[in-house]
Protein backbone atom coordinates (compact mmCIF):
# COMPACT_ATOMS: atom_id res chain seq x y z
CA UNK A 1 0.00 0.00 0.00
CA UNK A 2 1.32 3.41 -0.92
CA UNK A 3 1.93 5.91 1.86
CA UNK A 4 0.59 9.44 1.55
CA UNK A 5 2.40 12.48 2.91
CA UNK A 6 0.82 15.32 4.81
CA UNK A 7 2.43 18.62 5.75
CA UNK A 8 1.65 19.76 9.28
CA UNK A 9 2.99 22.14 11.88
CA UNK A 10 3.06 22.27 15.63
CA UNK A 11 0.73 24.76 17.32
CA UNK A 12 1.39 26.36 20.65
CA UNK A 13 -1.59 27.57 22.64
CA UNK A 14 -4.45 25.08 22.84
CA UNK A 15 -7.35 27.45 23.30
CA UNK A 16 -10.77 27.75 21.74
CA UNK A 17 -9.94 31.20 20.37
CA UNK A 18 -6.74 29.99 18.74
CA UNK A 19 -8.52 27.00 17.20
CA UNK A 20 -11.13 29.31 15.70
CA UNK A 21 -8.43 31.65 14.36
CA UNK A 22 -6.76 28.66 12.70
CA UNK A 23 -10.01 27.65 11.02
CA UNK A 24 -10.54 31.19 9.75
CA UNK A 25 -7.04 31.05 8.25
CA UNK A 26 -7.86 27.84 6.38
CA UNK A 27 -6.14 25.39 8.73
CA UNK A 28 -7.56 22.59 10.83
CA UNK A 29 -6.48 22.10 14.45
CA UNK A 30 -5.53 18.56 15.33
CA UNK A 31 -3.73 16.37 17.79
CA UNK A 32 -1.22 13.56 17.51
CA UNK A 33 -1.06 10.82 20.10
CA UNK A 34 0.12 7.28 20.36
CA UNK A 35 0.80 4.45 22.78
CA UNK A 36 4.25 5.69 23.84
CA UNK A 37 4.17 9.45 23.49
CA UNK A 38 2.59 12.53 25.03
CA UNK A 39 -0.03 14.26 22.89
CA UNK A 40 1.17 17.03 20.56
CA UNK A 41 -1.18 19.74 19.28
CA UNK A 42 -0.74 20.44 15.57
CA UNK A 43 -2.36 22.11 12.59
CA UNK A 44 -2.81 21.01 8.98
CA UNK A 45 -4.05 22.72 5.86
CA UNK A 46 -7.79 22.22 5.44
CA UNK A 47 -7.62 21.60 1.68
CA UNK A 48 -4.77 19.14 1.94
CA UNK A 49 -6.48 17.23 4.73
CA UNK A 50 -9.75 17.03 2.81
CA UNK A 51 -7.87 15.55 -0.14
CA UNK A 52 -6.48 12.81 2.13
CA UNK A 53 -9.83 12.02 3.73
CA UNK A 54 -11.51 10.69 0.62
CA UNK A 55 -14.05 7.92 0.92
CA UNK A 56 -11.59 5.19 0.06
CA UNK A 57 -8.50 6.34 1.88
CA UNK A 58 -9.88 7.23 5.28
CA UNK A 59 -7.58 5.14 7.42
CA UNK A 60 -4.60 4.80 5.15
CA UNK A 61 -1.09 5.19 6.42
CA UNK A 62 0.17 8.77 6.26
CA UNK A 63 3.70 10.06 6.77
CA UNK A 64 3.89 13.49 8.39
CA UNK A 65 6.17 16.18 6.99
CA UNK A 66 6.99 19.04 9.31
CA UNK A 67 9.70 21.42 10.41
CA UNK A 68 9.09 20.36 14.00
CA UNK A 69 11.37 17.40 14.86
CA UNK A 70 8.64 15.87 17.06
CA UNK A 71 6.40 15.50 14.01
CA UNK A 72 8.77 14.97 11.08
CA UNK A 73 8.66 11.49 9.59
CA UNK A 74 6.04 10.06 11.95
CA UNK A 75 3.73 7.44 10.52
CA UNK A 76 0.11 8.02 11.50
CA UNK A 77 -3.43 6.97 10.75
CA UNK A 78 -6.45 9.24 11.06
CA UNK A 79 -8.26 8.15 14.20
CA UNK A 80 -11.15 10.60 14.30
CA UNK A 81 -12.52 13.57 12.36
CA UNK A 82 -15.03 16.11 13.65
CA UNK A 83 -17.30 17.85 11.15
CA UNK A 84 -19.42 21.00 11.39
CA UNK A 85 -23.11 20.03 11.63
CA UNK A 86 -24.37 22.30 8.85
CA UNK A 87 -21.51 22.96 6.44
CA UNK A 88 -19.73 19.65 6.96
CA UNK A 89 -16.37 21.42 7.18
CA UNK A 90 -13.62 19.62 9.08
CA UNK A 91 -13.32 21.09 12.59
CA UNK A 92 -10.71 18.87 14.20
CA UNK A 93 -8.67 15.80 13.42
CA UNK A 94 -7.07 13.12 15.60
CA UNK A 95 -3.88 11.43 14.39
CA UNK A 96 -2.66 8.18 15.91
CA UNK A 97 1.02 7.37 15.68
CA UNK A 98 1.68 3.78 14.69
CA UNK A 99 4.67 1.52 15.06
CA UNK A 100 5.40 -0.02 11.65
CA UNK A 101 6.40 -3.31 13.26
CA UNK A 102 3.26 -3.78 15.34
CA UNK A 103 -0.24 -4.66 14.11
CA UNK A 104 -2.92 -2.01 14.52
CA UNK A 105 -6.70 -2.18 14.52
CA UNK A 106 -8.26 -0.05 11.78
CA UNK A 107 -11.62 0.33 10.10
CA UNK A 108 -11.51 -0.45 6.39
CA UNK A 109 -14.35 0.49 4.02
CA UNK A 110 -16.26 -2.21 2.14
CA UNK A 111 -16.71 -2.02 -1.60
CA UNK A 112 -19.58 -4.01 -3.04
CA UNK A 113 -18.98 -5.38 -6.51
CA UNK A 114 -21.24 -7.13 -8.97
CA UNK A 115 -25.00 -6.95 -9.45
CA UNK A 116 -26.88 -9.15 -7.02
CA UNK A 117 -29.34 -11.69 -8.40
CA UNK A 118 -31.94 -10.38 -5.95
CA UNK A 119 -31.53 -6.83 -7.25
CA UNK A 120 -32.44 -8.13 -10.72
CA UNK A 121 -35.66 -9.49 -9.19
CA UNK A 122 -36.53 -6.08 -7.77
CA UNK A 123 -34.82 -6.39 -4.38
CA UNK A 124 -32.75 -3.69 -2.71
CA UNK A 125 -29.11 -4.23 -1.85
CA UNK A 126 -28.85 -3.25 1.80
CA UNK A 127 -25.35 -2.88 3.25
CA UNK A 128 -25.59 -3.52 6.98
CA UNK A 129 -22.00 -2.41 7.54
CA UNK A 130 -20.09 0.23 5.62
CA UNK A 131 -16.70 -0.61 7.07
CA UNK A 132 -15.25 -3.39 9.16
CA UNK A 133 -12.53 -3.57 11.76
CA UNK A 134 -9.40 -5.45 10.82
CA UNK A 135 -6.01 -5.97 12.41
CA UNK A 136 -2.86 -5.84 10.35
CA UNK A 137 0.56 -4.25 10.07
CA UNK A 138 0.35 -0.54 9.19
CA UNK A 139 2.04 -1.08 5.83
CA UNK A 140 -0.51 -3.76 4.92
CA UNK A 141 -3.70 -1.76 5.59
CA UNK A 142 -5.95 -2.48 2.60
CA UNK A 143 -7.53 0.45 0.81
CA UNK A 144 -10.88 -1.37 0.83
CA UNK A 145 -12.33 -4.86 1.22
CA UNK A 146 -14.07 -6.08 -1.90
CA UNK A 147 -17.36 -7.93 -1.35
CA UNK A 148 -18.76 -9.81 -4.34
CA UNK A 149 -22.55 -9.65 -4.03
CA UNK A 150 -23.41 -11.12 -7.43
CA UNK A 151 -24.64 -14.44 -5.96
CA UNK A 152 -26.97 -12.82 -3.42
CA UNK A 153 -30.67 -13.55 -3.83
CA UNK A 154 -33.49 -11.90 -1.92
CA UNK A 155 -33.08 -12.41 1.86
CA UNK A 156 -29.57 -13.85 1.37
CA UNK A 157 -26.88 -12.54 3.70
CA UNK A 158 -23.10 -12.35 3.60
CA UNK A 159 -21.46 -12.58 7.02
CA UNK A 160 -18.10 -11.16 8.01
CA UNK A 161 -16.57 -14.65 8.22
CA UNK A 162 -17.33 -15.19 4.52
CA UNK A 163 -15.27 -12.21 3.35
CA UNK A 164 -11.97 -12.69 1.57
CA UNK A 165 -8.93 -10.97 3.10
CA UNK A 166 -5.39 -10.67 1.87
CA UNK A 167 -2.72 -12.44 3.89
CA UNK A 168 -1.75 -10.53 6.99
CA UNK A 169 -5.17 -8.92 7.37
CA UNK A 170 -7.37 -10.42 10.07
CA UNK A 171 -10.95 -9.33 10.75
CA UNK A 172 -11.76 -8.48 14.36
CA UNK A 173 -15.18 -9.72 15.52
CA UNK A 174 -16.76 -11.59 18.40
CA UNK A 175 -20.01 -12.59 16.75
CA UNK A 176 -20.25 -13.41 13.07
CA UNK A 177 -22.31 -10.35 12.13
CA UNK A 178 -24.03 -9.84 8.75
CA UNK A 179 -22.41 -7.39 6.34
CA UNK A 180 -24.81 -7.11 3.43
CA UNK A 181 -28.20 -8.47 2.45
CA UNK A 182 -30.83 -8.03 -0.26
CA UNK A 183 -34.22 -6.82 0.94
CA UNK A 184 -37.45 -7.77 -0.84
CA UNK A 185 -38.93 -5.09 -3.08
CA UNK A 186 -41.00 -2.43 -1.37
CA UNK A 187 -44.58 -2.13 -2.54
CA UNK A 188 -46.14 1.29 -2.80
CA UNK A 189 -49.07 1.43 -0.35
CA UNK A 190 -51.18 4.16 -1.92
CA UNK A 191 -52.37 2.40 -5.13
CA UNK A 192 -53.37 -0.69 -3.15
CA UNK A 193 -55.51 1.40 -0.76
CA UNK A 194 -57.36 3.31 -3.50
CA UNK A 195 -59.33 0.37 -5.05
CA UNK A 196 -60.27 -0.90 -1.59
CA UNK A 197 -61.75 2.49 -0.79
CA UNK A 198 -63.92 2.40 -3.91
CA UNK A 199 -65.01 -1.19 -3.40
CA UNK A 200 -65.90 -1.00 0.27
CA UNK A 201 -66.34 2.47 1.71
CA UNK A 202 -67.40 1.41 5.24
CA UNK A 203 -64.28 -0.74 5.52
CA UNK A 204 -62.08 2.27 4.78
CA UNK A 205 -63.87 4.18 7.50
CA UNK A 206 -63.25 1.36 9.94
CA UNK A 207 -59.57 1.34 9.01
CA UNK A 208 -59.31 5.03 9.79
CA UNK A 209 -60.81 4.69 13.24
CA UNK A 210 -57.84 2.96 14.94
CA UNK A 211 -55.47 5.61 13.59
CA UNK A 212 -57.60 8.38 15.03
CA UNK A 213 -57.87 6.45 18.25
CA UNK A 214 -54.12 6.06 18.46
CA UNK A 215 -53.69 9.80 18.04
CA UNK A 216 -56.24 10.62 20.67
CA UNK A 217 -55.04 8.00 23.11
CA UNK A 218 -53.34 10.36 25.53
CA UNK A 219 -56.44 12.53 25.47
CA UNK A 220 -58.67 9.65 26.49
CA UNK A 221 -56.36 8.61 29.31
CA UNK A 222 -56.22 12.16 30.54
CA UNK A 223 -59.98 12.42 30.50
CA UNK A 224 -60.20 9.29 32.61
CA UNK A 225 -57.88 10.73 35.26
CA UNK A 226 -57.86 14.51 34.97
CA UNK A 227 -56.35 15.16 38.37
CA UNK A 228 -53.12 13.27 37.87
CA UNK A 229 -50.94 15.01 35.25
CA UNK A 230 -52.21 18.51 36.02
CA UNK A 231 -50.26 18.46 39.25
Amino acid sequence: METAELVCDQRGVRSKGQARALRRAGDVPGILYGPARPAIALKVSSDELAAHLGAISHQRLIRLRSQAPELEGKYIIVKDVQHAPVSGAILHVDFYEVDLGKPVGVSVPLRFSGRAVGVGLGGILQPLEREIKVECLPLEIPEFIEVDVSALGIHDVIHVSELQFTSGVRPVFETDYPVVTVLPPTVEAAPAAAPAEVAAAPEAGAAEAPAAEAEGEPKGKEAAAPGGPKK
Binding site: P85, V86, K219, P229
Partner: protein, 141 residues
Protein backbone atom coordinates in the same frame (compact mmCIF):
# COMPACT_ATOMS: atom_id res chain seq x y z
CA UNK B 1 -48.97 9.74 10.75
CA UNK B 2 -46.20 9.56 13.28
CA UNK B 3 -47.22 10.14 16.90
CA UNK B 4 -46.13 8.84 20.29
CA UNK B 5 -48.05 5.78 21.49
CA UNK B 6 -48.51 7.21 24.97
CA UNK B 7 -47.17 10.23 26.80
CA UNK B 8 -46.90 11.18 30.43
CA UNK B 9 -48.24 14.72 29.94
CA UNK B 10 -50.51 15.61 27.04
CA UNK B 11 -49.59 19.31 26.86
CA UNK B 12 -46.13 20.81 26.75
CA UNK B 13 -44.75 24.33 27.05
CA UNK B 14 -43.84 25.94 23.76
CA UNK B 15 -40.12 26.38 24.37
CA UNK B 16 -37.61 27.81 21.92
CA UNK B 17 -35.41 26.02 19.42
CA UNK B 18 -31.92 27.52 19.30
CA UNK B 19 -28.50 26.79 17.90
CA UNK B 20 -27.44 24.01 15.56
CA UNK B 21 -27.76 20.27 15.89
CA UNK B 22 -25.09 18.45 17.82
CA UNK B 23 -26.53 15.02 17.07
CA UNK B 24 -28.31 13.48 14.11
CA UNK B 25 -26.36 15.49 11.54
CA UNK B 26 -24.44 12.63 9.95
CA UNK B 27 -25.73 10.04 7.52
CA UNK B 28 -26.41 6.85 9.45
CA UNK B 29 -28.36 4.49 7.19
CA UNK B 30 -28.66 5.43 3.55
CA UNK B 31 -26.56 6.94 0.80
CA UNK B 32 -28.60 10.08 0.21
CA UNK B 33 -30.28 12.43 2.64
CA UNK B 34 -32.16 15.64 3.21
CA UNK B 35 -30.61 18.01 5.74
CA UNK B 36 -32.38 20.91 7.40
CA UNK B 37 -30.79 24.35 7.15
CA UNK B 38 -33.38 26.13 9.30
CA UNK B 39 -34.75 26.16 12.78
CA UNK B 40 -38.34 25.10 12.81
CA UNK B 41 -41.11 22.74 13.80
CA UNK B 42 -41.92 19.97 11.38
CA UNK B 43 -45.33 18.55 12.15
CA UNK B 44 -46.40 14.95 11.63
CA UNK B 45 -48.57 15.86 8.64
CA UNK B 46 -45.66 17.51 6.83
CA UNK B 47 -43.44 14.51 7.54
CA UNK B 48 -46.10 12.14 6.23
CA UNK B 49 -46.62 14.26 3.10
CA UNK B 50 -42.87 14.30 2.47
CA UNK B 51 -42.62 10.55 3.04
CA UNK B 52 -45.42 9.90 0.54
CA UNK B 53 -43.73 12.19 -2.00
CA UNK B 54 -40.49 10.24 -1.56
CA UNK B 55 -41.97 6.78 -1.86
CA UNK B 56 -44.22 7.71 -4.77
CA UNK B 57 -41.30 9.04 -6.75
CA UNK B 58 -39.04 6.05 -6.21
CA UNK B 59 -42.01 3.67 -6.79
CA UNK B 60 -40.78 0.18 -5.99
CA UNK B 61 -37.14 -0.14 -5.09
CA UNK B 62 -35.27 2.00 -2.65
CA UNK B 63 -35.63 2.34 1.07
CA UNK B 64 -36.47 5.43 3.11
CA UNK B 65 -35.64 6.28 6.70
CA UNK B 66 -37.26 9.11 8.67
CA UNK B 67 -34.66 10.49 11.08
CA UNK B 68 -36.92 12.74 13.15
CA UNK B 69 -39.91 11.90 15.30
CA UNK B 70 -42.70 14.34 16.15
CA UNK B 71 -42.85 13.87 19.92
CA UNK B 72 -43.77 17.40 20.99
CA UNK B 73 -47.51 18.12 21.38
CA UNK B 74 -48.85 21.46 20.17
CA UNK B 75 -52.16 22.90 21.31
CA UNK B 76 -54.62 25.27 19.70
CA UNK B 77 -57.55 27.24 21.02
CA UNK B 78 -60.82 26.98 19.09
CA UNK B 79 -61.72 29.79 16.68
CA UNK B 80 -63.52 32.85 18.05
CA UNK B 81 -62.65 32.05 21.64
CA UNK B 82 -61.79 34.74 24.16
CA UNK B 83 -58.36 34.62 25.71
CA UNK B 84 -57.93 32.89 29.04
CA UNK B 85 -59.79 29.87 30.38
CA UNK B 86 -56.67 27.76 30.19
CA UNK B 87 -54.49 26.24 27.54
CA UNK B 88 -56.03 24.97 24.30
CA UNK B 89 -56.52 21.34 23.40
CA UNK B 90 -53.82 19.18 21.74
CA UNK B 91 -53.88 19.68 17.99
CA UNK B 92 -50.99 17.59 16.72
CA UNK B 93 -47.39 16.57 17.09
CA UNK B 94 -44.25 18.31 15.90
CA UNK B 95 -40.53 17.60 15.75
CA UNK B 96 -38.29 20.49 16.77
CA UNK B 97 -35.60 20.75 14.11
CA UNK B 98 -32.36 22.70 14.15
CA UNK B 99 -29.92 23.40 11.30
CA UNK B 100 -27.87 20.35 10.40
CA UNK B 101 -30.50 17.75 11.23
CA UNK B 102 -30.87 14.91 8.72
CA UNK B 103 -34.62 14.56 8.14
CA UNK B 104 -34.75 11.71 5.62
CA UNK B 105 -32.33 9.14 4.27
CA UNK B 106 -32.67 6.99 1.21
CA UNK B 107 -30.93 4.03 -0.36
CA UNK B 108 -31.28 1.67 -3.28
CA UNK B 109 -31.83 4.30 -5.98
CA UNK B 110 -29.48 6.21 -8.26
CA UNK B 111 -28.32 9.73 -7.46
CA UNK B 112 -30.61 11.52 -9.94
CA UNK B 113 -33.74 9.73 -8.69
CA UNK B 114 -32.80 10.39 -5.07
CA UNK B 115 -32.17 14.06 -5.76
CA UNK B 116 -35.53 14.52 -7.51
CA UNK B 117 -37.39 12.58 -4.79
CA UNK B 118 -35.78 14.72 -2.09
CA UNK B 119 -36.65 17.89 -4.03
CA UNK B 120 -40.29 16.85 -4.12
CA UNK B 121 -40.23 15.98 -0.42
CA UNK B 122 -38.55 19.27 0.48
CA UNK B 123 -41.53 21.16 -0.96
CA UNK B 124 -43.73 19.59 1.73
CA UNK B 125 -41.53 20.77 4.59
CA UNK B 126 -41.61 24.10 6.41
CA UNK B 127 -37.80 24.35 6.65
CA UNK B 128 -35.12 25.10 4.10
CA UNK B 129 -33.23 21.93 3.24
CA UNK B 130 -30.24 20.68 1.28
CA UNK B 131 -29.60 17.38 -0.49
CA UNK B 132 -26.65 15.52 1.03
CA UNK B 133 -24.94 12.26 0.26
CA UNK B 134 -22.62 9.92 2.05
CA UNK B 135 -18.92 10.12 1.19
CA UNK B 136 -18.35 7.52 -1.49
CA UNK B 137 -22.06 6.96 -2.13
CA UNK B 138 -22.69 4.79 -5.15
CA UNK B 139 -19.38 2.94 -4.90
CA UNK B 140 -19.67 -0.62 -6.04
CA UNK B 141 -23.07 -2.22 -6.64
Amino acid sequence: MLAPKRVKYRKMQKGRVRGVESRGFEMAFGDFGLKSLDIGRVDARALEAARIALTRHIKRGGRVWIRVFPDKPVTKKPAETRMGKGKGSPEGWVAAVRPGRILFEMEGVDRATAREAMRLAAHKLPVKTIFVEREGAGLGA
